[in-house]
């Protein structure tokens, strides 16, 4: 089933608008109007979602600000079957988040239209940061992670999302017979030799770049000497924080092994639930929201949007998905609002800085029970 024409036109209009050039108020107003239509559509398509929206303290039809609209916490996308606004036969692909061991990943369903918009959204944003040219694409990952599958992880999705910038794709990691991943140094040095004068795009998950590329090359004392590389990375800092690798140490390490200047290394924030939107760091170290998206940072105590300079829970908003209700998603990340209007880099609209994952609760208390004894198979059995 196709989406209503006015929604399709609205999305196209936002996608075609100047990426970071719209007047912030005008942008928020047009997003609010479009998101209301999308929410109404989602309510028609999914009764469970309608139940959620109808219980929201503010009626979204009459909401005055984007922050008043009903947002879903990111954990809601872990449900099985996944939350969908399309029929099963319309699902083209399912994206899964990168959950750590023991955690349930999020699963979002994409139909052809949403998948197309996802690619367009990411491409438009990245183009603004690295330019439109196609170039050799060095993937710091194994080739198995980029194969097109019906169900695809966050790493694969991110790698594929940058594919439109590629003239050729080279994966520099390989899996040995023991199942361990390691660097294919011979292949990498061969490519580096060819790419010395060329613009190159490299991408990998932050901790993969560090552990599988930078550390091995540093140990061997190898410099690739690809000064025109643009290294994009994403996936968060949690694992590197555990190893006390700061952002500065990471950038210095990556720059030294590629033989490039540190400003050619760009961290971006993105999540599968927020399809088609990524948030690269600008040269001032801030993240920006494109014309088809918004970020609301909420005070954990009140859930109201915070003022400039304050931190809170990140809510991402996007008009792009129509195959699942991922318009307004409360993440489990924290961020600080830098400005609501303009960044010195010239990009307009909300700018923010990522401030890590929501810390785990310190105090749980004597009422902290995940489950009943019976569900653990340890009931007293008296009533059985």
């Amino acid at each position: 089933m196709s989406i209503p024409v006015e929604i399709a036109r609205g999305i196209e209009s936002q996608l075609a608008a100047p990426l970071y050039g719209l007047d912030p108020k005008e942008r928020r107003d047009s997003l609010l109007a479009l998101l209301k239509k999308e929410l109404a559509y989602a309510c028609d398509r999914n009764l469970r979602f309608r139940n959620y929206a109808e219980h929201w303290p503010v009626d979204f039809h009459t909401a005055h600000t984007l922050a008043d609209l009903p947002y879903l916490p990111v954990g809601a996308f872990k449900s099985n079957p996944p939350l969908a606004l399309v029929n099963a036969n319309e699902v083209k692909r399912i994206l899964t988040s990168s959950a750590t061991t023991g955690q349930v990943p999020s699963r979002v369903v994409l139909d052809a239209e949403t998948a197309k918009r996802m690619t367009k959204g990411v491409t438009t944003i990245i183009k603004d940061f690295i330019g439109p040219a196609r170039r050799p694409y060095l993937v710091i990952d194994i080739s198995e992670n980029i194969n097109t599958q019906a169900e695809m992880g966050a790493r694969g999705a991110a790698i594929q999302g940058l594919g439109s910038f590629a003239t050729e794709v080279i994966c520099c990691l390989r899996r040995d017979l023991g199942g361990n991943t390691n660097l294919d140094l011979e292949k990498l040095l061969d490519c580096a030799g060819k790419w010395r004068e060329t613009e190159v795009l490299a991408y990998g998950f932050t901790y993969v770049i560090w552990t599988q590329l930078v550390q091995p090359l540093q140990r061997k004392g190898v410099t690739l000497d690809i000064p025109n590389v643009r290294v994009l990375h994403s996936g968060g800092w949690k694992r590197l924080e555990r190893e006390a690798v700061t952002k500065d140490v990471f950038i210095a390490g990556v720059a030294s092994v590629f033989g490039c200047s540190p400003d050619r290394i760009i961290d971006f924030y993105g999540m599968v639930e927020n399809v088609g939107v990524v948030y690269p760091d600008c040269e001032r170290g801030n993240k920006h929201v494109p014309a088809f998206a918004e970020v609301v940072v909420r005070n954990p105590l009140t859930l109201e949007p915070v003022a400039v300079g304050q931190r809170g829970l990140v809510q991402v908003c996007s008009v792009l998905p129509t195959s699942f209700p991922g318009f307004l998603v409360l993440t489990e990340d924290m961020a600080e609002i830098i400005d609501y209007n303009e960044c010195p880099c010239g990009r307009r609209g909300t700018s923010f800085r990522f401030a890590g994952r929501v810390p785990k609760a310190e105090v749980r208390g004597c009422g902290n029970l995940e489950t009943t004894r019976q569900k653990q198979g340890q009931g007293n059995g008296l009533h059985e």
Binding site: E362, R364, G379
Partner: protein, 420 residues
């Protein structure tokens, strides 16, 4: 302040071992009668009636707890009248007398502000000396309360018997040193914390008593909540129980079961409950919240409404309070943070029959005494340790978790006179 009594931060296991040695010496040299302890407690209760402590959650209750009128009946019930005066109790041809275990270690939970003190008082009443590990977030409050004890306990009768320390929960070496030094332990807390403490290398003779982790529920029969005149006041009672300790206490109601009856309108009930929660929020607004709790509250709301289109919910735009309304006899996974599941059931007996030992307290609002008796009996049979009136779910008393509070930390010595 007595150096031995409260060391907000200790840095090495040796400090704990040394302190344990000191208090053990005191226990050997100086016996203390429960009556003497009660006298100091009475003065302590009076000293706690001060302006600077008024905002400490649970302090009004602590003052009440420390009164002779509260504790003497508990001592009488647990240990008998002779124990109060340090005497022997006749037991047929023999006689019995309670003696302290010795050094008692306390591992209170971090969610109840006065719990380090409550735990301490139980062991002191048994004549013990104590090592108390104060959770990081409670050091300031505990210190304020202990300063009041020092003001009234001029001879140091109780303060010299107490060593309090705060160290990070990850300092296994400190926990181990404390565990190795004790003859008894009182452990309070959540599943993870309790499991960690239980694994510590206690001496084989140490008596270990665990309070928690448990959860609690409330239940109302149709006659009670169908009574419009009384409904709001019952809602206020359950709101008070929900509010205290951010619902992180083992005695906090996580679910309210409402028995359906003719003429009972759940919408009217939810309206009253909403009003009660809003009033409680105005009277006791949150000053802060952990972001992870906000996330959990938002997720609980969403999952409830997405799970079944028939489920309903009422909640504030902030994370201040949440009512999740539906049908069912199973206790949903607790969210805490003032999130109350309200489940409609046909018969409360059906709910109670499913309890499995997880439920500590059942808060009841039942019109018929006969039915209440039936419910209390069924609840006890199914592992519930406290059946109380809704609105009084947190009223700390003995027994707790089905266990006496003072008796586990004493030894009952039996003397059969040799000349008999």
């Amino acid at each position: 302040m007595n150096d031995l009594m409260l060391n907000p931060a200790v840095h090495s296991p040796q400090e704990i071992t040394w302190a344990a040695k000191q208090v053990r010496e005191i226990a050997r040299e100086k016996e203390i009668a429960p009556n003497t302890v009660l006298e100091v407690f009475e003065q302590w209760a009076a000293a706690l009636d001060s302006r600077e402590l008024r905002e400490v959650p649970g302090l009004a209750f602590l003052r009440l707890w420390l009164r002779r009128g509260t504790l003497e009946p508990i001592l009488l019930r647990e240990l008998g009248a002779d124990f109060l005066h340090g005497g022997w109790q006749e037991d047929g041809r023999a006689r019995l007398r309670a003696f302290p275990l010795g050094v008692v270690g306390h591992w209170p939970a971090g969610n109840v502000e006065i719990q380090p003190i409550l735990s301490l008082t139980c062991a002191l009443l048994g004549g013990n000396v104590c090592l108390v590990r104060v959770p990081g977030g409670l050091v300031e409050i505990t210190q304020q309360i202990m300063e009041k004890l020092q003001e009234v306990d001029r001879r140091g009768l109780l303060t010299e018997r107490t060593f309090m320390a705060s160290f990070d929960r990850s300092r296994t070496d400190m926990h181990e040193a404390m565990a190795q030094a004790v003859d008894g332990a009182m452990i309070w807390g959540g599943a993870e914390a309790v499991s960690q403490v239980r694994k510590l290398p206690f001496p084989h003779w140490a008596r270990v008593v665990v309070f928690g982790p448990r959860l609690s529920v409330a239940a109302m029969d149709a006659e009670t909540w169908g009574d419009r005149a009384e409904r709001l006041s019952w809602c206020r009672r359950v709101a008070r129980d929900v509010w205290q300790f951010e619902q992180r206490s083992c005695s906090s109601p996580q679910t309210l079961f409402l028995e359906q009856g003719a003429g009972c309108d759940p919408d009217e009930f939810v309206d009253d409950l909403r009003q009660a929660l809003q009033e409680e929020n105005r009277a006791h607004p949150r000053g802060q919240i952990e972001p992870s709790l906000t996330s959990e509250i938002c997720l609980a709301r969403a999952l409830w409404l997405l799970e079944d289109a028939a489920n309903r919910a009422v909640f504030s735009a902030s994370p201040d309070w949440t009512i999740l309304l539906g049908r069912g006899t199973e206790i949903p996974k607790p969210t805490q943070g003032r999130t109350l599941s309200v489940l409609l059931v046909d018969d409360l007996s059906e709910v109670i029959s499913k309890f499995d030992g997880t439920v500590q307290t059942l808060g009841l609002a039942v019109k018929s005494a006969e039915r209440e008796e039936k419910f209390a009996r069924a609840a006890g049979h199914n592992g519930v340790d406290r059946v109380v009136k809704m609105g009084r779910m947190h009223l700390f008393s003995s027994p707790w978790d089905g266990v006496d509070l003072i008796r586990p930390m004493v030894r009952l010595v039996r003397h059969v006179p040799s000349q008999e």
